[in-house]
């Protein structure tokens, strides 16, 4: 087994932060008691099934549901006609926004289906088998249309047009002819021509990346009860109960206060469980049948109709002087957005050069509709594709200049004061610290021997956001606390949030009882996404702790007959000249002496948490088959402050392994008719335990000035460097520089053959 995991900084100044308590919801999850949405059972609950398009692009000429309605056991059947007609309204979902007409259309196709798997009708029956039988009795007449599934093809003038009314927006200026290109972005900095003239070496390459899926193990699921008083209760598998509530209400055109979303335990999301798919269907079926309706997506439908994240084409050109200073960078990106406009091009363009100080730069980006599911976020959405290109070119440029790649990165690393090509200047960030930690790591300093083995390194950046969070802390008579919050817990955030409240109040993590509650029982809270939950909801928990201390100080002053100014808080204890009490002691006293104590806080921090990471990987390539073995892997990342190191490590390891899957095997494989041929876990090929070594982690702690404990978001950055790090390692093992993801065995073997023929 490989080396034990390390944590860079000491933990001296905290009692609770940096320790590794057992998560509050842990026992439920190892005994099978935790309730996920598919586990919800409501009285007389019916089961739904969704009929989906067998075509990638077609006009719906007619839908005949009569045979389905006639089947014994069927309770309700619906088509798009049962959904209200929503205007071209944009709904702000906190993290990102969505065009409601597109959202409604994606939930259930109206006149056209835009991808294979696009929902066209839904059935509720007494059990799921009858619902499926009934759905198969629905007759849909299609007029098939030509389809397109590769981004560069979809940009051509003669490409099949998905939306007759889509006009390219260039910085808000609309094009005058319709096309599949929804957005054109452009960033410029300095003087590009001058920059390349100053360069002693220039490298330019083009890269292709396949569409990939988030791959959460829990299929999308929902239970909806449309009550007879018009109130709608939704049990959902969602990253954000409030955004789920808003989308559901907007698509159904009902008031927000009529919809309650109960966030169940959620079996993974990674960005793919922010948009709604099934909620309005189950709702309408519930209204029509008068029963609660549960719908659980089939796995192949999860692949064919949800997610994925963009396939892309990226060209990157970098120039540097012989002493290793980058002088210019140029990038051209084309990202697919799937069936509808609105994808991940923005962050792709903002991240393509975000790790480096590049004085002269030009970034041009295009976002393109084609016949695939509408693109969704996937862990640092858009950044991985961009980094694959840039970090590959960086490695090649370092080779060309004869400079060590790590030294080359260190020379040009973004730091406080560096201006990104999209404009903003970085505050204190931790890339330099990550690179220094890499330089001194056991891994980087170990020797790698043996034939066809190579080592690669790459870095990545993700913004991490703040957004809105609310928490309420009710103090019990024994001084323990019930902490209610709105952030769905996908990976241990109940605990990382509770620990921040425990720290400020001088309590233990187990003294706090964190509960994720429904949208009727807590203030607005944005999605568990954008690497924000431990940062922002944790900040709210800290603030709620301060709120309690303020209230208790006032009350203690009465109790102790002194001025509240004379009471100091020292490591959670309340101290006056004559008295000292711990939080628990004082809370117990105050419970006897009057009003119950309830603390609250809402936050909306305006900042990015700026997460940088650097990955090192050793590979061995089977030259006969093109198969890559990961021999050793180390993730180095700036966490600002690791609240619960085990779960920080878990984020780094999990993200890295998703990146490894993306690099080596994962891809949407389409046939000529736009049908996905590998819509199963068997053929989509996510990594299994047997494909991997241990994933070492080094947590760097360059404190975030915008958080009381210095926390940075960590969830997303770890998926960014792996494809480039692995590509660089493969190049050093074989001499072949891969320009396409995934670097699957047939593809790598072919490239090795061509390279050998070339020599």
């Amino acid at each position: 087994m490989s080396q034990e995991t390390k944590q860079a900084s000491s933990n001296g100044k905290y009692r609770v932060l940096g320790t590794r308590p057992v998560r509050h919801d842990g026992a439920d999850k190892v005994t099978g008691k935790a309730i996920y949405t598919a586990d919800v059972k409501a009285a007389s609950m019916a089961n739904g099934f969704v009929l989906r398009s067998p075509h990638a692009h077609a006009r719906i000429k007619s839908i005949d549901t009569s045979a389905a309605e006639a089947l014994d056991g069927v309770l309700a059947v619906m088509t798009a006609e049962d959904l209200p007609d929503v205007t071209d309204k944009i709904a702000d979902l906190g993290e990102g926004s969505v065009n409601l007409a597109h959202l409604s259309n994606n939930v259930l196709a109206q006149d056209k289906v835009l991808y294979r798997g696009h929902a066209v009708a839904a059935v509720a029956a007494v059990n799921v088998h009858i619902a499926e039988e009934a759905a198969n009795l629905i007759k849909v007449e299609y007029e098939t249309l030509p389809s397109v599934t590769w981004v560069l093809d979809a940009m051509k003038d003669d490409a099949p047009l998905l939306h007759e009314n889509l006009y390219t927006s260039s910085g808000g200026e609309k094009a005058d002819t319709a096309s599949n290109v929804g957005v054109h972005l452009n960033f410029q900095q300095g003087d590009l021509q001058k920059g390349f003239e100053e360069a002693d070496a220039v490298v330019e390459r083009e890269f292709k990346m396949a569409t990939v899926h988030q791959g959460y193990i829990e299929p999308h699921a929902v239970v909806v009860d449309w009550n007879h008083d018009g109130r709608i209760k939704v049990w959902a598998s969602t990253q954000g109960s409030f955004t789920c509530r808003q989308q559901t209400a907007e698509v159904l055109q009902v008031p927000l206060s009529h919809v309650t979303v109960v966030p169940c335990e959620i079996g993974g999301g990674f960005g793919g469980k922010i948009a709604i798919y099934l909620e309005p269907l189950a709702a309408v079926l519930s209204r029509k049948s008068g029963r609660p309706v549960q719908i659980v997506m089939r796995r192949n439908d999860v692949f064919e109709a949800t997610g994925p994240t963009p396939g892309a084409f990226v060209r990157v050109k970098l120039g540097a002087t012989k002493d290793g200073k980058l002088t210019a960078g140029e990038a051209w990106l084309a990202y697919e957005s799937g069936a509808y406009p609105g994808g991940m091009l923005g962050p792709g363009c903002m991240c393509v050069f975000s790790c480096y100080d590049i004085p002269n730069a030009l970034v041009d980006g295009y976002e393109v509709c084609l016949n695939k599911p509408h693109i969704k976020a996937y862990r640092a959405p858009g950044a991985t594709q961009a980094a694959f290109a840039t970090e590959s070119v960086m490695d090649e440029l370092a080779e060309k200049l004869g400079i060590d790649i790590l030294e080359f990165q260190q020379k040009n690393a973004a730091k406080e004061g560096t201006r990104r090509v999209d404009g903003p200047v970085y505050p204190k960030v931790g890339l330099v610290e990550c690179l220094d930690a890499a330089a001194t790591s056991d891994h980087w300093n170990s020797t790698l021997e043996g034939p066809h083995r190579g080592r690669g390194i790459a870095s990545g950046f993700w913004f991490g956001c703040g957004l809105k969070s609310s928490v309420v802390a009710s103090v019990n008579s024994d001084g323990t606390i019930n902490l209610t919050e709105g952030s769905t817990d996908i990976g241990g955030t109940r605990t990382s949030i509770a620990m921040q409240m425990a720290e400020v109040l001088g309590l233990d993590a187990q003294d706090i009882n964190p509960r994720v509650v429904d949208t009727d029982n807590i203030g607005y809270t944005d999605v568990t996404g954008g690497s924000r939950t431990t940062f922002a909801t944790g900040m709210a928990a800290y603030e709620a702790g301060l709120d309690l201390q303020r209230q208790m100080t006032e009350r203690a002053a009465e109790l102790w007959d002194c001025n509240s100014e004379d009471i100091q808080i020292e490591s959670g204890n309340f101290v006056s000249s004559s008295q000292t009490a711990t939080f628990k002691e004082l809370a117990t006293e105050l419970f006897k002496a009057g009003e119950p104590l309830v603390g609250r806080a809402t936050v909306a921090p305006d900042c990015s948490t700026n997460g940088f990471g650097t990955h090192i990987v050793d590979v061995e390539v089977d030259m006969d088959t093109g198969k890559v073995k990961i021999l050793r892997y180390t993730v180095i990342q700036d966490a600002g402050k690791a609240i619960h190191p085990s779960y920080v490590e878990g984020q780094l390891q999990g993200g890295a392994v998703q990146g490894i899957g993306w690099a080596l095997n994962e891809e949407y494989f389409f046939d000529d008719d736009g049908e996905m041929r590998n819509a199963s876990f068997l053929d989509y090929r996510m990594p299994t335990a047997y494909d991997l070594p241990m994933i070492d982690t080094i947590i760097v702690e360059a404190e975030n000035p915008d958080h009381p404990y210095g926390v940075r978001g960590v969830g997303e950055t770890p998926i960014i460097p792996p494809p480039a790090a692995i590509a660089n390692a493969i190049c050093h093992a074989t001499g072949v520089r891969m320009e396409e993801l995934p670097m699957s065995p047939p593809r790598l073997w072919k490239a090795i053959q061509q390279n050998q023929d070339g020599n």
């Binding site: 087994m1 590794r20 057992v22 998560r23 919801d25 842990g26 026992a27 999850k29 190892v30 005994t31 099978g32 008691k33 935790a34 309730i35 996920y36 598919a38 586990d39 059972k41 014994d72 056991g73 007494v126 088998h129 988030q214 791959g215 959460y216 193990i217 829990e218 299929p219 335990e265 959620i266 079996g267 993974g268 999301g269 990674f270 659980v296 089939r298 796995r299 996908i490 990976g491 241990g492 619960h644 085990s646 779960y647 490590e649 878990g650 390891q653 999990g654 993200g655 392994v657 998703q658 199963s680 876990f681 068997l682 996510m686 299994t688 335990a689 047997y690 991997l692 241990m694 994933i695």
Partner: protein, 162 residues
């Protein structure tokens, strides 16, 4: 509608009877007829292991077993692994080792890992990775799962030898 037949079986040591149609999988009847929702549906075609249960002492994907097949057989699910007031070593090590994030794959891993360690508590990292390849996890990258299983095996070996 399909006709239902009575199935008599033993689940987690207790005699249990349920009615089911021929087309219903063991996964479906465990979840819908007996209320044991600990086994999860991840793919419903045998590729993810989230629905792993023990059938007559062998791990199976319950989505690939018909409910009617288990008449007269013994089933153990994740709900039957903990003792009255004590978690099994595998469960405890998963908690202490932070070997779960979203937790949807955890029941399948717990059942498969226990089965593996009951046969071979001191299995090597390589053996554990091979034996658990039928259980997919998308959150953890497996590192902490493998460490937790190895630690649990160590503890199980100690308690059996002492």
């Amino acid at each position: 509608m399909g006709t239902k037949q009575l199935v008599s079986t033993t689940i987690n040591g207790e005699p249990s009877q349920f009615l089911c149609e021929a087309r219903q999988s063991l996964l479906e009847v465990l979840r819908n007829e007996t209320g044991l929702t600990g086994c999860k549906e991840g793919c419903n075609n045998g590729n993810c292991g989230a629905c792993t249960v023990m059938l007559d002492g062998q791990p199976v994907n319950s989505c690939l077993v018909l409910g009617l097949e288990v008449d007269g057989k013994e089933i153990q699910t994740v709900e039957g692994i903990a003792q009255e007031n004590e978690l099994h070593a595998v469960q405890q090590c998963f908690l202490e080792g932070a070997a779960l994030q979203c937790g949807i794959c955890t029941p399948g891993f717990i059942v498969a890992a226990k089965a593996l360690l009951d046969e071979n508590p001191l299995a090597s990292e390589e053996e554990i990775r091979f034996q658990l390849a039928g259980n997919l996890c998308r959150c953890t990258g497996y590192d902490k799962i493998i460490r937790a299983v190895m630690e649990a095996g160590k503890q199980m070996a100690e308690t059996t030898t002492s």
